[in-house]
Structure formats: structure tokens, C-alpha cells
Subunit: 390 residues, 2 copies
């Protein structure tokens, strides 16, 4: 196990009856609040009205930035920064899924600098301060509510890039699983895949002695496999929604990679899919992951993939670790397909000529021309995986 | 899953090379430090000298409270409060196991009130502030470094009681698994049992839909069962010590009981053992737990105990859940015995006439005359369990 620092200061208010605590939590930080949200979903479920009423009762001044979209855009962030600067905003509340939280994070730090927010994403500027932020979560997927990372898309440059800063870590998250009852079958499936992908990015490493972390990871995978299908069939099943959304937070808050060396592999490959054709992030991850594992499978890595099969899919141990590993990958693919995920990129509208462009961009968007994850991947390897997944 | 608030703000610095960060972390809070520690162990492993040298180099002023013993005493806490008040201590650093941290927690809050520290333990006084504290951990057992609870013994009244306060939550913990290399076989075994007991106190509840939490709990149990025996055979095995000490933190920091209703059962019963005959806490827990589970086993509870057997001990599922549950309890007892834990109270020097006294004290030390855990226990039930364990 490698040395690490673990620090999750985000307070979680979880359950059906937490909204009443919102004004008190916010008032620890100030009174002028920027509400960052998407399109209509939080209005449809009545959450928007509930928040506005609560804020009015508590004399909290509200400013609004609606219209955040999935794969959130830098132009919306710029709009938010303008509002924050012009109105001396004290606090930013993101209401929605990962896109609203990721946008809020960048607004929070960019409001404290003079240059363009995109400079922070590309590492030209370092955050030094932030407006405090929090979220009310309405989607179990990205886990952004409990960590310091964010992913933003720049449509002009065609880039979708991750960045992070301790300053951007949310102060608290209010998680009511009921707010996810109205999430569609498609988005519930994609969210479940997203959680599983975060978990697998942390899980698949060469032996590093982080035994506890890997058992925790398997716990999250089993939770997704049990409750993903239930939430799809019974959208208002509280137990299913609660377990999924709580799993979502723990997949990516630092628990699973504590003491491990991880360089995420599927996420940078997927970011190119979303950047080029704006597909749903979780769907892209679910398409790519089994092909990536197939590409990684060799004598050095078969044991870990087989272990995944034994512990997550209850695959029976045979004499051939290699064959067991293959079964594990097939089981994963079958699970994703059972959720309604298409089995290849073609079905999501990709063309053959997209593949080399995406492989090139994937490498260009990295500090070094490779991915140093479970298996070392260069441009050629990435292209091969895209081809397998095509 | 029930509503809950999750909030662990304790920063963890984990690994071989973290001590150099200690002065910087402390200087966030002040310069006059009270060092709370036990007897000779931190001097034997050179840690005491390393800390003193680091503090001298960083011009940190040191005050000392040595002599904390297992099942830590209120008189030592009073001594610490006196030092803290007389010298305007800014920060308290506990170096050792749970006893030093539990003592530091009470010193920290009691230094901010006028009345006696014991008044806080018995709930007569409420903490309203605290001197900030942190720890350097040298034992994998109590998990006190990452939570807000503490257990203190009053020799005059013969009580060993738990109390807790958010003010007492440590700011950080420095965890270097190497500091546990010199922990004896006996204490390694007892610590492993302590971690498992915390986990099982959280795990054994009637069905509450907290699926993820229970899989996390099984992860910790499996980690203890894998690495407890290895650490006993190879005291300097870093992977074993690292996994055990990290499991120790997560067994009792709020993760496993998030969303569950738990009223710990074995701990209050064990506190009477330690209070009366000063036995090692983890040993008392390991003796009592299998008997407690046997006493709980009925048609309503057999499924949960059997699940424990399937998921932790790989017990094969038969047609009789009840028989499977019995096998699970027997497997647990065998594991504890394999670590060198005696199988009954007699072997730890208890006499038959102790049992009714302890059962009565156990009830007297509670706000209500019962334990509302996995199975409701009144004085008579507690006495029955003591008799079974005798």
C-alpha cells in the first residue's frame, strides 16, 4: 500500500427529511446565493419551488444560473462567474447532477481570479481561493458532490477536460434519494454504469496490497448490480435509489484509491467520445470498459480480472485463470447490455473515420503521450481499443 | 435506509513517510503542545525521540502527560486538564493507541469548562468548545483517531463509560503502519478482535435496506481475517499492518452505521468486564460475541447471521438457514480461538459471583434499563449471556 493523504470534509445530509436543514447550513457561509441548475427537471419534481420558498422564508437572496447541460460547457461557467463577480455572491448551490456541480466548482474558483475560467481547466492558472459551494443531488452518477474534481467541455476547442482543486471541494451535499425517482430508465442505466466505471478505474491495478480498498470496490460494484436493475423496473423504490446514490458518492471520493497508484484509462478515452458526438458519459464508459479489459488481458493481468469475476460475478474458479478472466469480462458486458447499453460505438452514431481523430485527441489532451493505468496505453493502443469497440 | 448525517473531517496522513508533515499540520493550530502518551512503547520504537527532535527544530513548545494506561482513567485526564489550563495549551497530540486518544479527547473539552471532567462523561455537563487534538497511532484497535467518541474508566465509582462530542473530533491522524510492528502477538490479536467487534456491532441489525454498508462491513471483516493471522506470524509485514490499521479506522468512523439503527450490545457488556477485572477490551469482546450471537439466534435473526456466514466465511448455503447461522457463529468462535483468545470468562479470572454484579452494573450505566440492539436485552438476558460465556 502506497502512502496517501485522505481528506473528505464534505458533510452529507442524507435522507427524506433533510431539506429543512438547508438554510441553516448555507447561513454558515453567507446570504447571497447563486443557484446553478439544469433545465426543467428540478421544477418538474417541485424541488425548485421548495428551495425558493425556504430561501424566501430565511431571507436568503437568490441569483440564478439555469441551463447547465450534460457535458457542461465553459460558456455557461463564464456566465456564472460574471453573475458571481457582479453581485458579490457568498455561496453557490448546485441543484442537479454532476454537470451542475462541476460547473459550480469552476465558477467558485474562477470568480476569485481575473483571467478566463478555461485557464484553470488547462492548468495555466492555479486556484487560490473559492466561493464556498454545496449541492443538492438529483442523479446518482458522477459522485462530484463529495470530491474536488470537475470535467468541463470547451466547444470552441473541442476539448472535454478534467481538473481539480481542494478549494473547489463542496462544503456539504444534501442527498434525498426521492429526488432521483423521476430519473429516466436510460439515465438510471447510464448513471449506474458511471458509478461502476469509477469503481473499476480505481480497482484495476497491478497488485499493490490495497486489499481493503479492493473489497470496498467490490461492495460498490455488487450494490450497483443489485440495485441498478431494480431502480430501472421500480423507479420509486427508495432502497434501490438510496443504495445507488450512496454508492455513487463512495466510488470517487478517495476511499477506493487510497494507497493505490491509479491512472484512469477509460475516462480519458470516453471524454473524446462525448467531446466529439456529445453522447451520454456513462454510456460511453460502459461501451468501452469491456473492450479495454479485453485489450488489457494478458498473463500478468489475468489474475486481477479473474478475481473480479470470482468476487463480483460469483464465477466459479477453474484451472485456467485466463479463461476465468474472459468469463468475468463477458459477464460485465452482459450486465451492461441487460441495462440497455448498446454494445458498440456504431450504434451511437460514430463513424470509422472518427476513431483516429479521437485517439490523437486523447493523447494530445494529456501531459504525457500515454495512459499509465492497468496497462500502459499509447495512441496506437487507444486506437485499437476504439476499433474493437466500433 | 434511515436518514443520517455523515461528517468525517479528520484528515488522514497515511504511510511510511508522513512524520515530516507533523509540525506543519500542528502549526495550523498553535505552538504549545501537550503530548499525551502511555508508558515506554513509543520510546522503545524511537518515535518519542523523533517527535521531540522535530518539535525542537520547529520551535514547538512541548508539555507532557505520560502514563496513560489501557482502559484509561479519569485521574490522568484530570492531570492533563490541569496542565492544559495552567499552560494555555494550544494543541493536544495523543501518541499511542485508543487510550491516549480517548484521554486526549476528554482533556480537550474538559479544559474549556470549570467543573470536573467526569461530569462530561456522565452527561452532567455538555462540551461547548475544545482544544484541537490529533493523534499518531501506534495500535490498530479502537478506531478512536477518526471519530468523536471516547471511553473513560472511573476507578472510584467502578464505571467504564462511553461519551462523545463533535468538539472532540481529531483534526488529523498520522498513521504509519510501521509503528505497529512492535505490537505484541497478544495485543495484535486483541486489536483485530476489537476491529471486528466494532464492525459486527454495526452489521448485525434487522433488515434495514443498508445493503452497501453491510458489504463494506464484510470487507472489513474479511480484511481482519486475512491479515490478523499474518501480522501475528510476521509482525513486520507492512501490507498486513497497513490493511489492519486502515480497517480499524473505517470500522467505527460512521461509514458502517450510516442509515442504520444500531444500539451496540457487546460493548456495554464488555465494559463491565474491563471495569471489574481490567481485562483487555478486545479479548473481552471476542469472548462475548459468539455467545451473544447464539443468544440472539432465532427465526427472525437467523437469515442475517447466515448471510454473515455465506459472505464472510464462505459457508455453503444449505436448506436450513438456522443451521447455516449456527455454522457461522462456530466459524467466528474458531477464528477468535485461532488468534489465541480464551474461550470463556473463567480463563480470564472471572468468578461466578461477578456475573450478577456486572449484569446489574451494565443496566445501571444505561439511560434505559435495556439494550435495544440486534435483539432487545434486559438485565436477565445480559446475565444469561454472561453465564453462557462463563
Amino acid at each position: 500500500m502506497q502512502d496517501f493523504i485522505f481528506n473528505i470534509s464534505t458533510k452529507i445530509l442524507f435522507g427524506k427529511d433533510q431539506l429543512k436543514n438547508l438554510p441553516g447550513e448555507i447561513k454558515n457561509y453567507g446570504n447571497k446565493v447563486l443557484l446553478v441548475y439544469g433545465r426543467n427537471s428540478i421544477k418538474k419534481i417541485g424541488l425548485y419551488d421548495d428551495i425558493i420558498k425556504l430561501f424566501e422564508k430565511s431571507s436568503i437572496e437568490i441569483f440564478e444560473l439555469p441551463g447547465i447541460v450534460p457535458n457542461p460547457r465553459i460558456d455557461k461557467v463564464r456566465e456564472g462567474v460574471k453573475i458571481a463577480k457582479e453581485n458579490d455572491i457568498d455561496f453557490i448551490l448546485a441543484v442537479g447532477g454532476g454537470s451542475t456541480i462541476d460547473s459550480a466548482k469552476l465558477i467558485a474558483v474562477a470568480a476569485k481570479i481575473d483571467s478566463d475560467p478555461w485557464d484553470i481547466v488547462i492548468g495555466k492558472e492555479n486556484p487560490k481561493d473559492a466561493i464556498p459551494i454545496a449541492s443538492i443531488l438529483t442523479l446518482a452518477a458522477t459522485g462530484s458532490e463529495m470530491n474536488s474534481g470537475s470535467v468541463i467541455t470547451n466547444e470552441e476547442t473541442g476539448q472535454k477536460l478534467g481538473w481539480g482543486s481542494e478549494y473547489a471541494r463542496p462544503k456539504f451535499a444534501l442527498i434525498n434519494p426521492e429526488y432521483t425517482y423521476s430519473v429516466s430508465v436510460y439515465q438510471t442505466a447510464a448513471g449506474t454504469c458511471d458509478i461502476m466505471s469509477h469503481t473499476m478505474e480505481n480497482y484495476f491495478t497491478l497488485n499493490d496490497g490495497a486489499y481493503l480498498e479492493d473489497r470496498f470496490a467490490e461492495s460498490i460494484l455488487k450494490t450497483c448490480m443489485k440495485y441498478g436493475p431494480i431502480a430501472i423496473k421500480e423507479p420509486n423504490n427508495y432502497e434501490a435509489r438510496a443504495n445507488l446514490i450512496w454508492a455513487n458518492s463512495w466510488a470517487i471520493n478517495g476511499l477506493l484509491n487510497a494507497g493505490k497508484f491509479t491512472d484512469w484509462s477509460v475516462h480519458p478515452m470516453e471524454h473524446e467520445l462525448s467531446a466529439l458526438r456529445d453522447i451520454t458519459h456513462g454510456v460511453g464508459l460502459a461501451i468501452l470498459t469491456p473492450y479495454w479489459l479485453e485489450y488489457c488481458l494478458d498473463n500478468e493481468r489475468s489474475e486481477k480480472i479473474a478475481e473480479f469475476g470470482y468476487n463480483v460475478f460469483d464465477i466459479e474458479k477453474t484451472e485456467s485463470t485466463f479463461e476465468d478472466a474472459k468469463k468475468a469480462i463477458e459477464s460485465l458486458r452482459e450486465f451492461f447490455i441487460s441495462l440497455g447499453i448498446p454494445e458498440n460505438l456504431q450504434k451511437e452514431g460514430f463513424k470509422k473515420e472518427d476513431l483516429p481523430i479521437m485517439a490523437r485527441n486523447c493523447i494530445n489532451n494529456r501531459p504525457k503521450p500515454e495512459i499509465n493505468g492497468f496497462k500502459n496505453l499509447k495512441e496506437e493502443d487507444i486506437l485499437n481499443i476504439y476499433k474493437m469497440a466500433f
